[in-house]
Structures are given as structure tokens and as C-alpha cells.
């Protein structure tokens, strides 16, 4: 990879709540190359959405990006930019596509106005030019009768159409990076297929990089070149997509893959990950996945695993990288031994 478009180093985003400091993102480092589509996978509470908000510096109090976090984008240090410079980046160089298209759109403005607004703010277009741009964008995202649709309000569109509008808004300024946070989770499966196809097609044509945040490994397999797996505020595994699916190294990734029912797959009992994610106010020392892991041993309790290089750009935050023979002897995870199935 040449110079990456976006680089995160040691990103920490903490939330200062009455129940303690929630270390939602706790030392995340990764990079996104030009034109690359990278998936960030993990379950609720793993910190993937907070990571996305942090990149745009949209974390609100009681949340705070901690000093020492490094975010470089197109050679700029995002942490050093003032709010005005940051506003120039948001919507212009980095755009965001949210999960709920209805809440991402303002119900009292027409969709033409809202798409045009981006062009007026960032490209200084006048009202007429902005509307023309909006119509052009609507055509680009495959909305029929774009001239007419531009004059309609969000509630007049279906969920799939709304998400197309949100994508149109994100792409107005031809940004270098689109962060899509669960862009299809709220949509039906046939519409999801349309939207992902559209996003892939457009970003390929425009050379846009995509950070695709999702919980759906199927979506990752079909759309991403590289995957980052997050657990408990950390990156626990990173690999090329095919490598990850063929040779998952981290026990958490292994568990996720096993827990996922597949169409056309075996009808065995689904594998589960016993126990629950520990509270972010109180991450365990050592390995954060230890209690739920079928291979954990003493070392996992005392020593926080680093991201081990396991070859070919594949990294994993698991001591098995150094003691691979332990994989031969799985045991019931501590969480299951305690009898607390519950999740």
C-alpha cells in the first residue's frame, strides 16, 4: 500500500459518565488506502460507530477524543484542525452515510434542497446551480424522474429511495472517503442488495475509499477488500477479506463466523459465544475476550495481547500467535463454566 488516505494511530475516545469512564474506543489503529473498501465488523458496543464519529470529530460530551490520539487524512493531522477547517472536511472530503435514512434527512426541506445545500456550502454554488447539481446526483443514484423527486420531501420516499438520497448527498462533493455506518441494516434484503451494489458501483467509478461499518459478515465478504474486527474498544484482527474468512485467527472472529447461520450451510447447532461483552467502564486486564474464549490460559489473564503480525498483513490480538499449539486443546470458556449463559 502506498501512502494511505486515512491513518488512525492509537485512537482513544472515552465517555465520562456517572457510572465511570467508558473507554468506548481504546487504542484503535488502522489505515484506509486510496480507492479501497475496508470493512469494520463487530457487535453492539465494540466501538465501531464511535470510531466513525471520532474520525469526523463529531463525538459529543460526555465523550472526548483523548490526547495522544493520531488521525491523519490526506496528510493533514485531523486532531490539530480547528472547527472551521474540520467543517470544510466534513461533507466535502469525508462524507458519512448513516443507518437510518429518515433521521439523516431533515423532514421540512425538499430532498433537492438538502442535496443542493451541500454544494452551496462547500462549492459556493448558487441556488439554481445547486438544484441542477441535486438533480444530477439523484440521476446518478438511480432515482427515476429526478427533476420531480427533487421537489419532494423525505416522507414521500420509500426507505430504499431515502437511502439513495443520503448516498447522493454524501457523494455531491466527490469526497475522498465515505464512512457508511450500517447503511443497509434498516433496509429489506432485496433493497439492501440494490443499495450495496449502487454504493460499490459509484465508489469504484469515482475512486472513492469506503469505510463500511457493519455487523453483517456477509455484507463484508461481498464488498470489502480488507476487514477490521473490533471487540471491546480494540481492533482484535485485521486481514484481507479472503484471508479472514479462510483462516480466522482470533477466537472472537472464529466465534462470529461460527455463530452466523448461512443459506445453504450445514444445519448443525449454531456455535455461540457464551457470556457477554464486559462493560466499557471496566475492561478486564489482560485479554478482554478471555472469559468467553475456549483457549484462554494464565497468560491471557496477566498479559494484554498486542496485535501480533501473523504474516501477509494479517494481524491478530491473541497470544495464540506465539503459542499456536494451545489451539489443539479447547475448553469450555470461563463464562460458560460459571453457568451464566445469558447474553
Amino acid at each position: 500500500m502506498t501512502t494511505p488516505l486515512l491513518e488512525l494511530e492509537n485512537l482513544h475516545t472515552y465517555f465520562y459518565t456517572d457510572t465511570g469512564v467508558a473507554r468506548a474506543v481504546d487504542g484503535v489503529s488502522f489505515a484506509v488506502g486510496v480507492g479501497e473498501t475496508v470493512g469494520v465488523v463487530g457487535e453492539s458496543g465494540c466501538g465501531k460507530s464511535v470510531t466513525a464519529l471520532s474520525i469526523l470529530r463529531l463525538v459529543r460530551p460526555p465523550g472526548r477524543i483523548e490526547a495522544g490520539s493520531v488521525m491523519r487524512f490526506e496528510g493533514k493531522d485531523l486532531m490539530a484542525l480547528d472547527e472551521e477547517a474540520m467543517q470544510h472536511i466534513r461533507g466535502n472530503r469525508i462524507a458519512m452515510v448513516f443507518q437510518e435514512p429518515m433521521t439523516a434527512l431533515n423532514p421540512v426541506f425538499t430532498i433537492g434542497d438538502q442535496i443542493g445545500e451541500v454544494a452551496r456550502v462547500h462549492a459556493g454554488m448558487n441556488k439554481r446551480q445547486a438544484l441542477a447539481k441535486a438533480v444530477e446526483m439523484l440521476k446518478l443514484v438511480g432515482i427515476p424522474a429526478p427533476e420531480q423527486r427533487a421537489g419532494e420531501y423525505p416522507h414521500q420516499l420509500s426507505g430504499g429511495m431515502r437511502q439513495r438520497v443520503v448516498i447522493a448527498m454524501a457523494l455531491v462533493m466527490n469526497p475522498a472517503l465515505v464512512i457508511a455506518d450500517e447503511p443497509t441494516t434498516a433496509l429489506d434484503v432485496t433493497i439492501q442488495a440494490q443499495i450495496l451494489e449502487l454504493l460499490a458501483d459509484l465508489t469504484r467509478r469515482l475512486g472513492t475509499s469506503v469505510l463500511l461499518i457493519t455487523h453483517d459478515l456477509g455484507v463484508v465478504a461481498e464488498n470489502c477488500t480488507r476487514v477490521i474486527v473490533m471487540y471491546a474498544g480494540e481492533v482484535v484482527e485485521e486481514a484481507a477479506t479472503s484471508d479472514l474468512f479462510a483462516r480466522a485467527h482470533h477466537p472472537y472472529t472464529e466465534g462470529l463466523l461460527g455463530a452466523m447461520p448461512r443459506v445453504g450451510g450445514e444445519k448443525d447447532r449454531l456455535a455461540t459465544i457464551p457470556g457477554t461483552v464486559p462493560p466499557p467502564t471496566n475492561w478486564p486486564k489482560g485479554c478482554r475476550f478471555r472469559d468467553r474464549c475456549p483457549y484462554s490460559w494464565e497468560r491471557c489473564e496477566s498479559e494484554h495481547p498486542p496485535l501480533y503480525q501473523i504474516g501477509g498483513g494479517h494481524t491478530s490480538r491473541c497470544h495464540l500467535a506465539e503459542e499456536p499449539e494451545r489451539r489443539q486443546h479447547p475448553h469450555p470458556p470461563l463464562a460458560a463454566q460459571r453457568g451464566a449463559t445469558a447474553a
Binding site: 429489506d188 455487523h215 465478504a221 479472503s242 445469558a342
Partner: protein, 362 residues
């Protein structure tokens, strides 16, 4: 019409021509102006101990069907028989008695538990209502139920907000089990959960079914979960059941073009394998104003689709033993070629099964 049922068992639940139209009211005086045809003539059976999945996209009427069967929404017409009883004819007090045998588990683990009741009180409520246990006997029963769904009995005094989504879903299941039902409507019970938690709840539902001989109506939109848990699957589109078949047949040889499109849209977790897609054009039409004839015809990709599809309402008919589908262009069909021609047909029915619809052969 003979019912799309399993031949080998007397049905526990028989649903016939179930219909629910929600009137659309306009103006100050609530003048009725048309109706949303949420469920439009749905027919199926559920055998004892069986899991019938009801799948479809949002707005297809699957949840309304589930609730209309339990009369949580009063159906407009049709019939529901449960274990020989005519459910729709019961008065309020007999209906409350029947509720012991038919239960429901909801999708949203947050809205489905009363935030001001401890989970012990929530699970206990059914015992009290039906006088199944009182005092310390009820306490013990609550403890057992919590254990059965994989929660620690000590949790009984805690409140719902202290639990994660998956744990709350277990509480909802324990509440349903408390009255010892034989049939449970599972309304998207795992849709709101994370993958690993979803697997736990799916396994739990399967264990309970095995131990207690429960029958499920499993309402879902996730086709991979459905394939895993269901014995038979009914596919709904715009208030109609358009295909109903044993799970292997439905996934192995989907007949209805809509089912084919639905299956092709499921992402495959195999990197490098770029799945072919049947991309449906346009959006699902409004159930207030459904298309004439076959409700799917404006979006259908069947090569033999013609103007007869817009005129003839396709009957749900048995194409191969146990495999029911509603399509006049997929042979065999009881709608004769003469009738089709009279309705403007130009294309003879011919069997169509695009490769994109299949997962297993890949």
C-alpha cells in the same frame, strides 16, 4: 382449496383465508376512504411440534398475520382453528383461557418488557393470571423458568434495563413459557440481536421446542436464520402467501419468482464469490393499492410474464408434493392455457429457475 399442510399430522393450527384490512380514515369525521390490505386471504396449517416460518419484507403482512391469529388484532375475515377450537368465535373470557396455549415472543427486547416491573414479576404474571401457582410455589416456578431460558434465578429481583438485548429476549421467552403453551408466535425474535447473541437465542428456541414439543410460527426476514430453524417456510408478499414449502424444497428449488429474488439477495459469506443477483426494479407497491392479478407482476423477472399476469389472480397451488406456489407461469398450473389466453396471455408457462436463486449448488 386443500390446505397447504403437512400430510403426516393433524394440524394444531389451521388458518383459512385470513384477512385483515385496516380502514384508511380521512378528514375530521373519519370517513373511511379505502383500506390497507395488510393480510389478504392467508391460508396455512401448523402441525404440533413444527416450525413454520413466515418470511417476507417489511409491510408484507407477516407480523399482522401472527397477531391476527392470536386475536391481538381482530381479523377482518377468515377462520383460525386451534386444536379444534374456532378461535375467532371465542368470547373474551374463553379467549383469555385459550391464551394459555398460544403465546407470543416479540422482536423489540426493549419495548416488550414493562420497565417498572422486575423480571421476576414479569415472568410471574402469567402464573397469577391463570392461577397456576401462588406464593412460594410461584417463586420456585419463576426460578425454574429463568434457569430454563439460561438466566440466573437471582436475577428475578432486577429490572429490565439492567439486561442486554439478548438477556431481555430470554425474559420474554420465559414469560411466554410460564403459561405452558403448545404454540408460540415468534415475531422476529432475533432480528434486533447481535450475531453471537442471535445464535444463543436460536439454539434456546430449538432446545425448548425439543424439550417441550412446542410448535412455532417463526416470523422473520432473515432467510439464513429461517433456513436454520424452520421445517416449512411460507413466503409472503403484499399480504399474500406466494409460496409455501418444506425448507429444503424452498431453498433448493424456489418456484415463485419473488422467492427467487429474495434468495438471490442474501449476501453470501464467501469472499471472492460474487453472487449473481436478481435485482428487483422499483419498490414494493402500497398495500392500500395493490397491483391487479398477481401482486408481484410489475416487478417479476419470469421470462414468460405477460399481460395475463396482470389479470389473473394466481391460486396458491401444489406444484410438486408439499410445495405450494402462486404463479400461473410456473407449470403445472390449474389455470388452463385457454383461460390465460382469454386474459391476453402470449407466453406459454415454462419452468424458470435462475442460478442466482440457488446457494447450495455454488
Amino acid at each position: 382449496m386443500t390446505a397447504p399442510a403437512r400430510a403426516d399430522a393433524a394440524p394444531l393450527l389451521s388458518v383459512r383465508d385470513l384477512t385483515k384490512h385496516f380502514p384508511i380514515k380521512r378528514g375530521v369525521f373519519g370517513r373511511v376512504d379505502g383500506a390497507v390490505r395488510a393480510v389478504d386471504g392467508v391460508t396455512f396449517d401448523v402441525a404440533p411440534g413444527e416450525t413454520l416460518a413466515l418470511v417476507g419484507e417489511s409491510g408484507c403482512g407477516k407480523s399482522t398475520t401472527g397477531r391476527a391469529i392470536l386475536r391481538l388484532i381482530e381479523p377482518t375475515s377468515g377462520s383460525v382453528r386451534f386444536d379444534g377450537q374456532d378461535v375467532l368465535a371465542l368470547d373474551a373470557s374463553d379467549l383469555r383461557k385459550l391464551r394459555r396455549r398460544m403465546q407470543i415472543v416479540f422482536q423489540d427486547p426493549f419495548s416488550s418488557l414493562n420497565p417498572r416491573m422486575s423480571i421476576g414479576a414479569i415472568v410471574r404474571e402469567g402464573l397469577t393470571i391463570h392461577h397456576l401457582a401462588e406464593g412460594s410455589a410461584a417463586d420456585n416456578r419463576v426460578r425454574q423458568l429463568l434457569e430454563e431460558v439460561g438466566l440466573r434465578p437471582e436475577y428475578a429481583s432486577r429490572y429490565p434495563h439492567e439486561f442486554s438485548g439478548g438477556q431481555r429476549q430470554r425474559v420474554g421467552i420465559a414469560r411466554a413459557l410460564s403459561v405452558e403453551p403448545t404454540f408460540i408466535v415468534c415475531d422476529e425474535p432475533v432480528s434486533a440481536l447481535d450475531v453471537s447473541v442471535q445464535a444463543q437465542v436460536v439454539n434456546l428456541l430449538q432446545d425448548l421446542q425439543r424439550d417441550r414439543g412446542l410448535a412455532y410460527l417463526f416470523i422473520a426476514h432473515d432467510l439464513s436464520v429461517v433456513e436454520h430453524i424452520a421445517d416449512r417456510v411460507a413466503v409472503m408478499y403484499l399480504g399474500h402467501v406466494v409460496e409455501l414449502a418444506p425448507v429444503e424444497k424452498l431453498y433448493g428449488e424456489p418456484i415463485m419468482p419473488y422467492t427467487q429474488a429474495l434468495l438471490s439477495a442474501v449476501p453470501a459469506p464467501e469472499p471472492g464469490v460474487k453472487r449473481e443477483r436478481i435485482l428487483l426494479t422499483g419498490d414494493v407497491p402500497s398495500p392500500a393499492n395493490p397491483p391487479s392479478g398477481c401482486v408481484f407482476h410489475p416487478r417479476c423477472q419470469h421470462p414468460a410474464r405477460d399481460s395475463a399476469c396482470a389479470k389473473i389472480v394466481p391460486p396458491l397451488e401444489e406444484k410438486t408434493p408439499g410445495h405450494w406456489a402462486a404463479c400461473i407461469k410456473q407449470p403445472p398450473t390449474s389455470v388452463s392455457w385457454d383461460d390465460q389466453r382469454a386474459a391476453g396471455a402470449t407466453n406459454q408457462p415454462e419452468f424458470f429457475l435462475p442460478r442466482a436463486a440457488l446457494h447450495r449448488s455454488a
